[in-house]
Every structure is written in C-alpha cells, then in structure tokens.
C-alpha cells in the first residue's frame, strides 16, 4: 500500500521544525513502527537523516513509543503505536505524524521528547518502602479481590504519556492518579499514602503540566484504558492529605 506521510522534522531542541512530506510503499501487515523503519532505511540509503522516534519493546508494554498520529496519540486504535498496524489505514491515505506536545516534555529531535518528568514524579512518591531480608510469604496480607483487581487496572499504566498528549491542557493527572491509586488501593501502600499524594502532586505541578478539566480525552486515548476514576481517587487522597497530614516530628535520640 502507498501512503503519504507528513512528519514533524526538527534537528534539535533549539531548532525550528516543520512538517515534511514523504511517500512510502509498504505491506499492510506491518506495524506503524515497521513502516517508519522502511522509510528510514530508504532515507539512510539516500544519505538523508533518518526520522528519530522512540521505541523499545515493540510489544505494547514498555511505553517508549509515542507518536501523535492523525490528531490522536498512538493513532486511531486503542493501543500503543508499536501495536498499531497499517491495515487500519487506507491505501493512498495521508498520515500526519507529530511528537507529544507539552512544555513538560521538551522535544529532543524529530518525534522524540524527553519524558523524564514522569520519572521525577515517580521518584517523589510512586513507591512503597519495604524491609530487606527474606521474601515475605505470598498472600500473607489478605486483599479483597475487587481491590486487587482495581489496583491491577491502575498498575497497567505504562507511563507512555498519551494522556498528556491527548489532554487539551497537557495535564498529567491520569498518569499521576494511576500511580497514586495503584498503591493507595493496596495495604502495602497505606503507610506512605498521605505523603505520596502530596509529594507526587507537588512534583507534577513543579514540572509544569496543566490542570484537569475532566474532558476524558486522556482515558479514551490511553492504550491501557486507565479509568478517570483514578483521578477522583487521587483528588480524594490529595484533599484528605492536605487537611490531615502532620509535619514530621523531631524524635529524641533516647538513652
């Protein structure tokens, strides 16, 4: 099948970029990234600079691929770009490929953006502290099935940033709420629950993401179908934490 591509090309963060036209002739069974591989091989053969794009596992689980295809993150299907296949496009179609657009995701080159803001948010509280030593017994702490399923659904977030890309405000609330909910729903997440909500939200704000308008575009475009109910849980945790968290006490050394 023949396709017309309009791809955002930008040599580095400070350069000005523009959409550049390309033509490819590919097999409809290829994935979207394989289609770009074909284009890049052709560009390399011609001695031109290949199109830079993020990718890693190509199995839909790592969250590295990040393309804004025809006005939607990860394109027309609810999946990651690597799992999007060319059979979902029409022969002769024009496809516009852009990078994620957000102040908190600075562009590095072409379609590659720096998503380390997500890592810094996770470092601020997206963890549980556990003792080292021998592994605890499995199922030592009982967790209701409904809670564990809900936590698992939240934990399915791969941190690709499609929610930020889809949001008209470039808000990261779906990502942050999935990380907060995943741990807030489990007994292991309780000791740090208040601090987690406060610190992760503070880091999210410091990174310069927008605020949530509840349009729901994030959840619709999320390749893992992360639910908006996570945002309600995050807000609840943040409100309660703001109202009830205590400052750290000075503890005397003792005898």
């Amino acid at each position: 099948m023949k396709l017309n591509l309009k791809i955002w090309r930008q040599s580095d963060a400070s350069a000005s970029g523009k959409l550049v036209d390309y033509k490819v002739d590919i097999n409809p069974e290829m994935s979207f990234l394989e289609m770009l591989d074909v284009l890049n091989e052709e560009l390399a053969r011609k001695g031109e600079d290949p199109v830079a794009f993020d990718h890693d596992c190509r199995e839909g689980i790592c969250g590295a691929c990040s393309l804004y295809i025809n006005g939607r993150p990860h394109g027309p299907m609810q999946t990651t770009t690597c799992q999007l296949h060319m059979r979902h496009f029409k022969d002769g179609e024009t496809i516009i490929i852009e990078p994620w657009r957000a102040a908190a995701f600075p562009l590095l080159k072409d379609l590659v953006v720096d998503r380390s803001a997500f890592d810094r948010i996770n470092h601020a509280g997206g963890f549980v502290s556990v003792n080292t030593g021998s592994a605890p017994d499995a199922n030592e702490i009982l967790i209701p099935k409904t809670e564990s399923d809900e936590a698992f659904n939240s934990a399915a977030c791969i941190g690709c940033g499609a929610c930020v890309a889809a949001c008209k405000n470039a808000s990261a609330m779906l990502f942050v709420s999935a990380k907060i909910s995943h741990l807030a729903l489990l007994p292991q997440g309780q000791p740090e629950r208040e601090r987690r909500a406060e610190n992760m939200v503070a880091q999210m704000d410091a990174e310069g993401f927008g605020a949530c308008t509840n349009t729901g575009a994030c959840s619709i475009e999320c390749p893992k179908g992360i639910s908006m109910s996570n945002i309600a849980l995050m807000n609840r945790d943040f409100i309660f934490a703001s109202l009830t968290s205590k400052p750290e006490l000075k503890v005397s050394e003792g005898a």
Partner: protein, 228 residues
C-alpha cells in the same frame, strides 16, 4: 496556614475551588428558578413581588447573596489562573487534532464567558435597578403602595417586551445548559466523589439538571414576550 495556601494554589486545589464554587452556584440556580417561576402565575405579579420582597429583606438570604457573589468571583478568577497555566503547559500546539472529548468539556471558558456577559446585563437590568430604588437613588422600579413592595413584576414584564433581550436570555440559557452538562458531573469527580453505585446516578442527575433548569429559566422571558 502555609499548608492551606499550598493546597489551594496547587492544580488540584484550584480545581476543588472551581468545583465547590460551581456546586454552590448550582444550588443557587435551583432557588432562583423556584422564585422566578412565580412570574408565570397570572395574578398580576402578587406572588412574584412578595417573593422578591422577602428575598430582598431577609437577613439570611442577604448573607447568602453576598456569599453568592464571592463564589461567582472565585469561579471567574480561579478559572483565569487555570486557563493561563493550561495554555502555558502546551506552548507549541499540534498541526492537526482529532478530538475524542465532548465539545462543551473543551469549551467551558467560552460558555462561561457567555454566561458572564449575560450575568452583567441581567444584574444591571434587574438587580441594579431594584437596589438603586431600594437605596432611594432614583426610582427605576415603581413602588406599589397598596401592597408596600417594589413592583418588580411590571419592570420585568416591560423588559421582556424587547425581542433582543429575550433572545439574549434564551441563547445564554443554552450556553448555561452546555456549561452545566459538563460542569455538574465534573465537579463531583474533582472533589473525589466517585463510586460505581452513585456516579451513574450523579451523571444522570447532572444531565437532567442541565436540561430542566436552563429550560425553566428560558421559558419565562419567552412566555412574557408572547403574553405581550
């Protein structure tokens, strides 16, 4: 109090302010509509004028009305802060966007601005005239000495003989309907109310509210205009 400032100036804190002020204004709409529907009674305005006198002189209602203005201003100013922050969060837009969200959810600011313009016209037309007359600065509203109240019914009836004012009211109520259709359920999610048992009910209630209440308001000027 530093913690409170930090919480309220965070993105979530600001959204909570939007939600709480919005929910208060939703309650206000109900009270206002119930009173306004007295205009539809064909009793020469006795029911409406009595209601207006009660609302204008009851100390509890007067206190709540001050709160109402405070919440309107909160809703406006916090939304300005949020809109500014949100536009800074994406300095470089997309060449092509294929939206998957509802139109009203993306255009709450435009809808809110229409409502604000309406509010200014509405306040100048009725609330302002009533207050000025009340304070003895001019007599914009006739004083009915037999009943000892300001005849707001006649003022309202006269105002709604202008077709353009009726049109402004109807258009504004349509904007209000779309604003509420998103705002009602969005406010509950923002303050953290979300449960498989109650959220579907709240969504249904929000949809019904966003149709019934603005329609109730819009009927009044249209009815009074047609009545002549």
């Amino acid at each position: 109090m530093n913690w409170l400032v930090n919480a309220l100036t965070s993105t979530i804190g600001r959204k909570v302010l939007m939600a709480l002020s919005g929910l208060f204004l939703i309650l206000f709409l109900v009270v206002h509509l119930v009173g306004n529907l007295q205009l539809l009674k064909s009793d020469g305005g006795i029911a409406f004028n009595t209601y207006a006198k009660f609302m204008g002189h009851n100390p509890l209602i007067q206190t709540v009305s001050i709160l109402n203005f405070v919440f309107i201003l909160t809703h406006i100013f916090v939304s300005l802060f949020l809109t500014l922050r949100n536009s800074k969060a994406r300095p470089h837009g997309y060449a092509y966007v294929n939206n998957s969200s509802t139109w009203s959810s993306r255009n709450m600011g435009i809808l809110g601005t229409i409502i604000l313009v309406f509010l200014v016209v509405h306040l100048v037309n009725f609330w302002g005239k009533m207050k000025l007359t009340d304070f003895g600065i001019g007599s914009y509203v006739e004083h009915d000495t037999t009943q000892d109240y300001l005849d707001l019914y006649t003022t309202t009836k006269a105002a709604f003989q202008d077709w353009w004012l009726v049109l402004l009211y109807v258009v504004s109520m349509i904007a209000l309907a779309f604003h509420l259709s998103h705002g009602f359920q969005s406010a509950f999610r923002t303050i953290g109310v979300n449960h498989p048992k109650y959220t579907p009910f709240l969504k249904g209630l929000g949809l019904a509210f966003s149709i019934i209440v603005p329609a109730g308001f819009a009927i009044i000027p249209v009815y009074m205009f047609l009545q002549g």
